[in-house]
């Protein structure tokens, strides 16, 4: 039976992305020109993203998906990330001479998965989406077949990932068992005293916690991030994380039971995650690992905002909206910044990613002023300094947390920002204040490649834009929450 056009329009982006993924694979034999493929893939992502304009508000496919500002936002987010990552990978693939078509196709399919996660209104659909992004991610992580590290990271990601997936799935089973449904709308008011529901939600939290890498499920992150090809790492740090958070937030915001059960978990895990991330990053020497830990820390900050949602929901004066807005804004700013940062790193890493030690960046300020300046800007944004995106991200989270009277959590977050500032500054210091010990590696690129430069420029502009005039984005994410909380 053919679904109505309305439903089709609601999932138009996914359809387009899938379509282009398939096309890429079909074209590959004929189209040997890498740039062309890159361009094609980017067009695909762009079209998919833009196609959201045809979307019709409301739920579709008998309530399996929900097309609201929330999902719209995340479609744009993952679309943007995919777009930038594809553009950034161009140089990388050339340098490491890897096949482009499959790579882009996988990115597209991963994006599809994330899109599904963003708009899923029903747990099993969400599960399929999750699997789609995960499986593509496993492959992407191991895409550099000749590299031991890459394959190892793929192996670890795959084993642990599916391990976590099993938990997630078992959680869905429990929820289904006690309520007879997996549709969030139905679950919204499920009786929150049933132990089995509690169990189910616990297991779901475990599964998703793994995906968003909150402590103590963060353990896989550094290894996988380090081993994976750097553009892929960029994707990991931005896309799947955001999508998983989207689902987490949707569940959390919709199901009352979740709100009540998860609050303290979020509170404690937030604190734990922040500390693990920042303290771990302090002692790292490989810059990819540093950023991996920092991404853990940022997940912790986002959890603070999630914890804030709980109280806020009960709050009258739009506290909840503040919390949601904080999460979304933070995810967006973090995604853009980290894509930018990883892109620079992937370019600087040199052939086979051999120059990724922090000390390899010594004297970068003189060797590559633009790259150094941009990277510093991104790091400062991570650090949360004014006129960068990260600053307002932090600010909104602070506001949300304090609005919900989570003063101590806010203070913990403040302490962590201080710890964080140490290792971010360390990198800047190395870039500007150290001279390169020994000779600069011969194959160290003299300047950023064109595509990289484009990506970085976009990221820089975005960082500054969000840092100087966040009002627009905030306007959007503030309006969206109404949809969410309307069951």
């Amino acid at each position: 039976m053919i679904p109505q056009t309305g439903d089709i329009l609601k999932v138009l982006p996914e359809i387009i992305w899938c379509g282009f993924g398939v096309l890429l694979m079909l074209l590959q034999p004929f189209l040997k020109n890498r740039q062309a493929l890159t361009f094609f893939a980017m067009v695909g992502v762009a079209l998919g993203t833009l196609s959201t304009f045809f979307g019709i508000w409301g739920s579709g496919f008998s309530g399996l998906i929900q097309f609201d500002t929330f999902s719209l936002f995340f479609h744009w987010l993952v679309g943007l990330v995919g777009f930038l990552v594809i553009l950034a990978s161009d140089t990388y693939l050339e340098r490491e001479n890897l096949e482009a078509a499959e790579f882009y196709a996988l990115i597209l399919f991963a994006t599809v998965g994330m899109g599904v996660l963003a708009s899923a209104q029903e747990l099993l659909t969400a599960f399929i989406g999750l699997e789609m992004s995960s499986i593509s991610s496993y492959v992407l992580a191991g895409y550099r077949r000749d590299s031991i590290k890459s394959s190892e990271s793929a192996m670890k990601y795959f084993l642990l990932g599916s391990f976590a997936t099993a938990f997630f799935l078992y959680g869905i089973a429990m929820v289904y068992g006690v309520t007879g449904s997996t549709n969030l709308a139905t679950l919204a008011t499920a009786d929150s005293h049933s132990t089995m529901l509690r169990l189910g939600l616990t297991l779901i939290l475990v599964g998703l916690g793994f995906k968003v890498a909150i402590a103590p499920f963060q353990i896989w992150t550094p290894d996988v991030y380090e081993g994976a090809p750097t553009p892929v790492t960029a994707l990991f740090s931005a896309g799947p994380k955001a999508a998983a958070f989207a689902l987490l937030l949707r569940i959390f915001a919709t199901i009352d039971a979740a709100t009540t059960y998860w609050f303290w978990a979020f509170w404690i895990l937030a604190a734990l995650t922040m500390f693990v991330g920042n303290l771990g990053a302090m002692v790292q020497s490989n810059i990819k690992r540093v950023l991996a830990y920092s991404s853990i820390a940022h997940a912790g900050y986002i959890l603070v905002a999630l914890a804030a949602v709980t109280f806020a929901k009960s709050d009258v004066d739009g506290g909840a909206s503040r919390a949601y807005a904080a999460v979304l804004f933070y995810l967006l700013s973090y995604a853009l910044v980290s894509v930018g940062a990883f892109t620079i790193i992937s370019d600087l890493g040199g052939h086979g990613e051999r120059h990724l030690n922090v000390d390899d960046f010594a004297g970068l300020g003189t060797r590559q002023p633009f790259a150094a300046a941009a990277l510093s800007l991104f790091l400062l944004s991570f650090l949360g300094l004014p006129i960068t995106a990260g600053f307002f991200g932090k600010l909104y989270i602070f506001t949300a947390a304090i609005k919900s009277h989570l003063i101590w959590l806010a203070v913990l977050m403040a302490i962590n920002s201080i710890i964080g500032s140490y290792y971010y500054l360390r990198i800047i210091v190395v870039m500007y204040m150290h001279d390169h010990k020994g000779a600069v590696p011969a194959d160290a690129p003299a300047s950023l490649s064109v595509t990289t430069a484009m990506v970085v420029t976009v990221a820089v502009l975005a960082t500054l834009y969000l840092g100087l005039a966040p009002s627009h984005i905030i306007g959007i994410v503030l309006s969206q929450n109404l949809m969410l909380s309307a069951r």
Binding site: T366, L385, H405, G475
Partner: protein, 531 residues
Amino acid sequence: MVASGHLLSVLIFFPAVGALALLLLRNDDERFVRQITFAISLVEFLFSLILLWLVPIGAAGYSLEEFKRWIVAPPINYHLGVDGISMFLVILTTFLMPISVLASWKGVHFRLKEFHVMLLLLEVGVIGVFLSLDLFLFFVFWEIMLIPMAFLIGIWGHDRRIYAAIKFVLYTMAGSILMLVGIVWLYNTTGTFDLPTIQHMLQSGLLVLPARTEMLLFLAFFVAFAIKVPLFPLHTWLPDAHVEAPTAGSIILAGVLLKMGTYGMIRFCLPLFPDASHKAAPYVGALAIVGIIYGALVALVQPNLKKLVAYSSVSHLGFVVLGIFAFQNIAMQGAVYQMLAHGISTGALFLLVGMLYDRRHTFEISEYGGLSTPMPRLAAFFLFISLASMGLPLLNGFVGEFLILLGTYQVNWKWVAWAATGVILSACYLLWAYQRVFFGAVTHEKNRELPDTSSREKWLLVAMAVVTLWMGVQSPFFTRRIAASSRKVVEQSNGYQMHEAAAPSAKPAPAATGIPAASVAKLSTERLAVR
């Protein structure tokens, strides 16, 4: 209170524009870069002098206000304004900037353009801090200022520059992040970041902070400022930062950045959290006094000339904090005045130390000795400035200390009895250092042939000396303009109820501060109080 023109915005962003222009410049012509920067900073200084005419004398409120919506949610506004206190701090900044450009005329060659860009950006941040009337804007500038300074220390500094730079940043961060929490908390309580509005709410009793909350908020702000000042136990970043920073950096650091701390106390801690301030005053005062004596004693035994001056700053700023937390008109005016005086005299001291360093590339006192013979002029200037710094009458140091001590004595003579010993000690360490550096026979052969001040240096020092003397003799020129604002601060810090009883006209009408009447109405309808 109507915004006349956009002078303040110009003041803030003119250096930024200059920095941009500098960046576009080609790098090879050093001299040109220096001249351009000097020209920019000089013009900026002249701009700032306009304030002297535009800011009415004897008006407590903010003038030349600029108000513009910046961010909708949360309602953050681009709200600038200047009063007697901030005006002079701005002028001090703009005055010290050309000085420090000239000061590094010969010293700095490495990545020259970036150096000057950093200086100008630093100026942007500092002036922004002094002119912001929006808590949030204030914080933004407060943080912006951090990076250029860190770079100045870290790139153009001396041996242990990186350690010093990181220490400086981390110390400041530690404070400022907590301050951010405080600011946000305050925002959640009041629904606005706008300083005048919050003050209005406190005055009209719309906003009543429970004691505990108020104290926590006070601490959140105070710690950030105390680190900047620096107050006694939080001061250890200062010596390192100073010793490692290049001359220009030290001048700005000592001359202006430290003042941001005390300025913050005056502008935020006292007016916003009067009761908490009063509760904390005994401890703060004690710390300030400890700082005065401790700083002086440690300075006494420093083998490193620059460190000595740095510790002397710790001691002098102790006086300022003491004056602020006396909640007394004379002392408050003295404190503000002392901020300016210290800015000039200590700035000049660092200038002189820098000149010695340019010649001998060491700060070790033991490396010098008998310098009066080869360089009498420098020696004379050094003595002059030292005397100013140790508070000799008719020079600027005295007026501030005198007012502070006199005023504080009116409310707490024990404090003064302790603090005044700092006057003795300052003479001890400065004169001893001076003797070891300049008196006696020349001990090191290297020193025998050192050149005396070049004409550039001479005129720099003349400028400093003239200002020093003029401030010392013509102090009313400053105090008259400071008086009204500082009195207002004292009034507010002594509680709003009595202030309400006083002339209601003193209150800034909310409409004038640019806050839509609606929001104020909303505020007045719901009595704000923290749960």
